[in-house]
C-alpha cells in the first residue's frame, strides 16, 4: 500500500484539487472490516487499460500484501523474498497461471487483464493465500484495521462505489456517488459478514 500511494499520487498529480472519498467498512455488528477493497467505478465511461505494475511479495511463507487491488491490465510481479522455493498458482477464472517452483524474482510479471478476484495459492504451502482484486477503475483503496480506506484524487463525476472483501459471499449493493471537485466525502458501508 505504501508503495502504491506515491504511484497513485503520481498518476493523479495533474488532477489537482481532485476529490477524496473516505470509506469506512463495517460489518453488521459495527466491527471494522479489514482488508476490504473499496473502489469507485465511473459511470458511463470506459477507462483505458492501465499500463501499471504491482508487486505481490512472499515473505515468511506469506503473500504480502494479503489483498492487492489492481486496475485491469496491471502487471504484477511475484518476487520471492524467502530463502525457500514457492510455487504460485491461481485457478480463478479471472486469471489462471502458475509459476513453477522458483527463488528470487521471476523474469516475467503476470498481467491481470480481466476484472475479477484472483485467488492465489502456493502449491507446497497450503496456508499461503492472497487475493489480487482486479478492478476496472484506478480509484480504489484497501481498508486498514479500523476499516477505513481513503480513495483519493478522484475526479468529479458519477461513480458507483463497490466493496469486496475476502470470504465475501454476496456483493453488497453498489453505492451511487456523485463527486464534485475537491469534494471530500465520508462514506460508511455496512456489509454482511
Amino acid at each position: 500500500m505504501t508503495r502504491t500511494l506515491p504511484l497513485l499520487l503520481l498518476l493523479l498529480g495533474p488532477l489537482a484539487r481532485a476529490a477524496t472519498v473516505n470509506v469506512t467498512v463495517r460489518d453488521a455488528r459495527g466491527g471494522a472490516v479489514n482488508d476490504a477493497v473499496v473502489y469507485a467505478v465511473p459511470e458511463g465511461r470506459e477507462l483505458p487499460l492501465a499500463k501499471k505494475s504491482a508487486i505481490m511479495d512472499q515473505k515468511n511463507r506469506m503473500f504480502v500484501p494479503h489483498v492487492l487491488p489492481v486496475q485491469t491490465g496491471t502487471s504484477v510481479r511475484f518476487p520471492n523474498s524467502d530463502d525457500i522455493r514457492h510455487q504460485v498458482y491461481s485457478f480463478s477464472s479471472a486469471k489462471q497461471f502458475q509459476i513453477p517452483l522458483y527463488k528470487g524474482t521471476p523474469a516475467n510479471p503476470v498481467v491481470f487483464d480481466r476484472a475479477g478476484v484472483v485467488s492465489l495459492g502456493c502449491s507446497i504451502h497450503d496456508r499461503m493465500t492472497a487475493y489480487v482484486v482486479v478492478v476496472d477503475t484506478p480509484y480504489f483503496a484497501t481498508t486498514d484495521r479500523k476499516g477505513r480506506g481513503a480513495i483519493s484524487s478522484v475526479g468529479a463525476g458519477k461513480y458507483s462505489l463497490r466493496v469486496w472483501y475476502p470470504d465475501m459471499t454476496t456483493e453488497p449493493a453498489p453505492v451511487p456517488l456523485t463527486l464534485a471537485a475537491s469534494d471530500n466525502q465520508e462514506l460508511v458501508v455496512t456489509v454482511r459478514k
Binding site: 498458482y89 485457478f91 499461503m128 493465500t129
Partner: protein
Amino acid sequence: MRSFQAKLVYLTVAVLVLLLAAILIAVHVAGDRTMRRSIDDELHVGSRVLDQTLTLRGRQLSIAVRALASDFAFREAVASADRGTIVSALNNHADRVHADAAFLISLDGTVLAGTLGGQYFGRPFPVPSLLSEAAKHGESTAFVSFEGRPYQFVIVPILAPRPIDWVCMGFPIDDRVLNEVRSLTLLDASVWNPAAENPLMVSTLRQQQRTELASQMQQLGPRRSDATATIQLDNDPFQVLLHPLVTGDGSHIQMLLQRSIEEARRPYRKLELQIFALSLLALIGAVIAAIFFARGVSSPLHRLAAEAQQIEKGDYSSGLEFRQKDEIGKLAGAFDKMRKAIAEREEQIWVQATHDSLTGLPNRTLFFDRVAYSIVGAKRNSSLVGMIMMDLDRFKEINDTLGHHFGDQLLIEIGRRLRQTLREADTVARLGGDEFAVMFLADDESRAIDVAQRIGAALVTPFLLGGVSIEVAGSMGIALFPSHAEDAATLMKRADIAMYDAKKNHLQYAIYEPGRDEHSLRRLAILSELRHAIARDELDLHYQPKIDVRTGKAVHAEALVRWKHPVHGHLKPDEFIPLAEQSGNISMITKWVLRKAITHCGEWNASGVELTVAVNLSALDLFDAELPTYISGLLSEVGLPPSKLVLEITESAVMKDPIYALRILRDLKHRGVKLAIDDYGTGYSSLAHLKRLPVDELKIDKSFVLNLRNAATDDIVIVRSTIELGHNMGLRVIAEGVENDEAWQILKRLGCDMAQGYFISKPLPAPEFRAWMAEAQSSGVGQAFQPAPRAAG
C-alpha cells in the same frame, strides 16, 4: 427293605441329591446369568469397537480424500471445467483411495460430475445435509444408504486455495470392514436397513443364517437406540445387538452384532459337567460311606436282635462279646446284664411256680410233669410208675385247735420225713393243704405197698413240735401205671379215688380198684342233677316207724328221703346226701324234707293217728341260723305242735363247730322241738360234751344193734351201758337196725325205750306207711308188739 442301613443310605442320598441339585441349579442359574451378562457386555463393547472402527475409518478416509482433493493436477483438472476431464480425474482419484462412488459438487450443491454414468449430473446432491455439515466444518463424513448399500461418504472442499467445489467420495461398509470388527470382537456383524430392497446389506454370517436373520429381523422392526434380542439361527440361539447408526441421509441403517449363546455357554457347560461329575463322585462316596457306617451300627444290632430272639426262646446261655467302647458296646453290656438278670429271675419264678413255698417240695404242677415224664420213660422200658396220694387224718382239727403255725410246722416236718423215707429218685410233692403225693418207679405192685407201708411207719413216731407231741395218721391211695391208668392225669385221679376209699374204710392205704372211677363219675353226674331233683319232683319221703318197746305202739316215724333218679333208679341218702353237702344243696333238701314230713305228720295227726315225725339234720344245717325260724313257721303253718317233731343230729355234726351248733340246738329246743343224737357211739364226743347238748333222745348206732345176740358180746355191753347212761341223763334211748326177734327181745330186756328196724318195718312211702299204721292199730299192735319177721333189708 426298611432296615436302618437302607434308611441311612436313603437319607444320605436324599440330602446329598438335594444339596447337589441345589448347587447345580445355582451354578447353572449363576452361570447363565453371568453368560448372558457377558454376552451383553461383549455386544456393547462390540458396538463401541464398531463405532470406533467406523469413526477411525471415516477420519482416515477423510484425510485420504482431503489429500486427494489438494492434488494439484486434480485441482487443475477440476479447474479445467471440461466435464470429460473432470469425470475421468474423479474416477482415477476415487480408485486411488478405493472409493466406490465419487462426486464433484458445486458450492451451491449441484452435482457437477459423478462416477456413476452421469445419472446425478446437474441435479442437487442427494445428501444435502452432508453439504451443509461440510460447509460448517470444512468437511464431513456420514453413513448413507446409497444404491442399496451402506456407505460412508466423505465430503471435502477443493481448495484453490479458497474452496471452489466439493468432492464427495463414497466407501462401502463391506465384508472387509465387518471382518475387521469380527477379528477384534469375535462377534458376527451385519448391516441392516429395513427400508432397503435387500435389507440385510452385508453380513459375516453364512448364507443360511443370513436368510434366517433377515426374516427374524423383519419381525423385530427398526430401533432408534441400542437394543438386544434373542433369535434363532440355524437352530442355535443368538443374542443380537441392534445398533442404529447416525446417518447423513436419515436412513435407518442398523449395525447388528450377533453372539452365539451356545458358544458363549460352552465353558459354563463344561464347568457344569465337571461339577456334576464331582457331585456324582461325592454321592457315590457318601453312599459307600453311609453303607459302611450303617453296617458298623446295624451288624452289632443284628447280633443283639438275634441274641434277643434266643432269650425270647428261653435260651439264656449265650453271652455276647462286644469289644466296642461306644454306645453300642454299652448297649450290649446292658443287654448282657439284663439277660443274666432275666435268667436268674426266671429260675426263681420257675422254682416258685413248681415248688411249694412252705415245704420246698415240688407242687402239683411239677409233680404232674414228672409223672408224665416218668410215664413216657416207663413206656419205653416197660416198667411201672407208682403213685401214692396221702391225705392227713384230722388235720383240720389240729389246725383249728393248735393254730395254723403249728399246722404249717407239722406239714414241713411230714414233708421232711417223707423225703427221708424215700429214695433220691422218688418224687415227694405237696399237692395242697394236707395232701401229699409220692411218685416212684417200681418193678411190681409189691414195691408200691412197700412204699406205702414205709410211709405209714414213718408217721408212727409222734411229732414233737413246740413242746406238743402229736400223732398223725394219713390215708393213702395207690395207683400204678400201666395197670390203672395210661396217663398222668388219670393216674393222679385214680390215686385220689383210692385214697378216698382208704379214708372211707378207715384203712392206712388202698390200691385203686378198677371200676371205682366209673362210680365216681356217676357221683359227679348225680351231683349235677341233684340241683334239679326238687324242681322235677324226683324226691320222695319214706317213713320207718319207731316202736315203743314197752307198749309195742308206733310212736315215731323217721322220714327218710329217696331219689327216684330217672336213670339210676331209687337212690339212698347215703349216695347223694354227702354230695348235696359238698355241693351246698343240702339246705335246700333239708327244707324240702322238713316241709314234706311236717305236712304228712300234720295230716296223720289230724286223721287221728298220733305220731311224732323225725327228720335228720345235716351238719351243715347247724350253721343255718334261719333254720329254727323256718321250722317254727312250718309247724304253725301246718298246725303241728313242736313236740311232734324230732330232729336227729349226729355227734360229728355237732362237733364241726360245737359252739355255733349248740346255739342253734338251744334255739330249737327253746321252740319246743325235740332233739335226738343219731348214730351214737361212732363219734369221739366226750360224755361231758354230750351232757351239754340239749337233747331228748339218744339213738344207738345200728352197728352195735345188728349183731346183738344173747351170747355175751361187747355189743351187748355197749348197748346196755348206753341205755343206762341215756336213762341216767334223762334221755330216751332208741335202737335202730333191729332186724330180728332176738335183738328185739334183748332190747326189751335191757329197757330200751324205742326200736326201729327191718324187723318192725322197712321204710315205706307215705301212703303205704299210712296203711301199715292202720293195719297195726287194727291188729292190736298197740297192745304188745309181736311183729312177724319180714324180709330183712
